[in-house]
Symmetry: C2
Subunit: 225 residues, 2 copies
């Protein structure tokens, strides 16, 4: 029996609840892949056949809207992707694309179901993470729609700084257009706001490189909308 999952450095909190035997079973039914930036790991419309575990890297969840592509959220490893796709419907309801070179494990759906059914602690961790996802989407719902563009751009920048990179100086992994799709605004408006923030000394921008110079001011903009 393989012990590669047992030894995995990127083991999820849920997987750490599995027995050695269960980890062996998992190892035999999952495939680890290194994906290049821009690779689609889950395609909207395709048959949903696997759970994906983003071991390392960054991904976006996106969905085809009536007019343009809508980015639902940016996901930082480690996290399971595609549970709603696999359990919610026969075909994928959304796509997932990696934003930087990433490592992903594709887990056979029946194996995943077997683990859910045979290890209540594993199932419980999965339930916890689904609940947290739902809370997150509720919050997003309330902030994204009730703030105007400056507040939303500030939100994205703070999220990148705090959650994704843990630094005030980072290279944003998405284009201006993608920022716009994330906050439901036009590319041009996002550009303008970014320029404005730079003019006001809040940011230092050089292409995709962004440095937050005045985080307090940015927070204030986020809070006041």
């Amino acid at each position: 029996m393989s012990s590669k999952c047992a030894e995995c450095v990127f083991k999820s909190k849920a997987a750490s609840k599995l027995t050695f035997e269960q980890l062996g079973h998992l190892a035999e039914n999952c495939a680890s892949v290194t994906l290049k930036k821009g690779s689609v790991l889950m395609q909207q419309g395709a048959l949903s056949s696997n759970i994906a575990y983003l071991k390392k890297g960054l991904a976006k969840i996106h969905i085809k809207g009536p007019y343009h592509e809508q980015i639902i959220k940016i996901i930082k490893a480690p996290e399971y992707l595609g549970l709603p796709n696999t359990f919610g419907d026969k075909i994928n309801n959304y796509s997932a694309t990696v934003l930087e070179d990433s490592e992903v494990c594709f887990i056979d759906i029946d194996t995943f179901k077997y683990l859910l059914a045979n290890n209540e602690k594993f199932a419980y961790e999965i339930i916890l993470s689904l609940c947290n996802n739902e809370l997150g989407s509720f919050k997003k719902c309330a902030t994204r729609t009730q703030k105007q563009i400056r507040g939303n751009v500030a939100d994205v920048l703070l999220d990148m700084s705090n959650r994704v990179y843990d630094s005030d100086d980072f290279e944003i992994p998405i284009s201006r257009e993608e920022i716009a799709n994330l906050i439901d605004k036009s590319r041009e408006s996002v550009s303008r706001v970014l320029s404005e923030f730079e003019k006001d000394g809040i940011l230092k921008i050089s292409g995709k490189k962004i440095e937050i110079l005045d985080k307090e001011k940015l927070k204030l903009i986020f809070e006041t909308g």
Copy 2:
């Protein structure tokens, strides 16, 4: 041992997976309540202590936004409410209020956890419903933000007609202001669109009573935004 849950006519799909003993245990640790229209069954900010099962009736999930109350979704029985509240955080992240006289079971959180841990089919059903919730919020995310007000109002009306009342002739359970909060638009704009729809012969409106006269046209408006 009480058999009231075993005999419950409104038993959830998840609960139907429970053994007779487990249903007895559930019956001893849950309280069924009849709530009058407008009652808050879960208050944002309060300690999350129970799972609520909306047995019969209709409820809204809402959250305090930076400026006004945001309605996240309208929930029709039967459905569990508050799982993300109870599992995601110590305090409630959102409120739930019934929109018509409803019946709700409050289930002790430890009992719920016990059932999750001891009945994998129950847990699996809960996972399924959480996944479906997430898919729903993704879809909402894409439609609500990419359509303008006519498309959004059409969406709400079609949802009421198809999912909630299964009829083209219904009394809408929320005020114009609440419709506005649901689609992130102003009350006045919602009023105007409703009047416009009536003028165009799509609806017949009399206060909260709404009759859809031309559903095809309404669908078209929904689809074309």
